[in-house]
Symmetry: C2
Subunit: 72 residues, 2 copies
DNA sequence: AATTTTTATACCTTATAGGGTATAATTTTA
DNA sequence: TAAAATTATACCCTATAAGGTATAAAAATT
């Protein structure tokens, strides 16, 4: 499964020439977490994801959905 | 603790005149989850948060951080 | 193409997220 | 201001996220 979040992290990491272990230790999360994140696992914890995104000057936030159905 | 995500959900819910139980059942998550979400708990699961945001036509995504430090 | 580096997969363990429920507190409405 | 409705807090339980480690596979380097 390819998720936007997964691609985002993988790309940013590559841009900085970091390995997964590099990123893991910089972010203070486990190596396995980075792998699951980059592979699009959906059941990740918000705070851990943010720990990683922070390294890239980003954070998780609600944004408008493409396939919209804002019709509760 | 007041988080942007928490406020977002609370506001959207209010706009639609839903109670927390309403939102919980519409989103297919537990009532407790909605409460923790609206109270700014940070260790929530990404997929559950998305289940809720979807009702508002939104989803979680990485956005630029205010307090930036994109200097790995 | 052989070696090294990086990434992926699989297993075990521990801490806890999330569901449920019951009760208390707060807010709303009559 | 009582009564009703909504939200908050606290408990128990189960499933699993996340860490670690070991090995396999794949990519990159020489």
């Amino acid at each position: 499964m390819e998720s936007p979040l997964a691609s985002f992290v993988k790309n940013k990491r590559k841009l900085l020439n970091l390995t997964q272990p590099d990123l893991a230790s910089k972010a203070g999360v486990g190596l396995r977490f980075i792998r699951e994140l980059e592979q699009g696992k959906t059941t990740l914890r918000l705070d851990k994801v943010n720990q990683v995104l922070q390294l890239f000057g980003h954070e998780i936030a609600p944004v408008l959905n493409k396939k919209n159905n804002a019709d509760v």
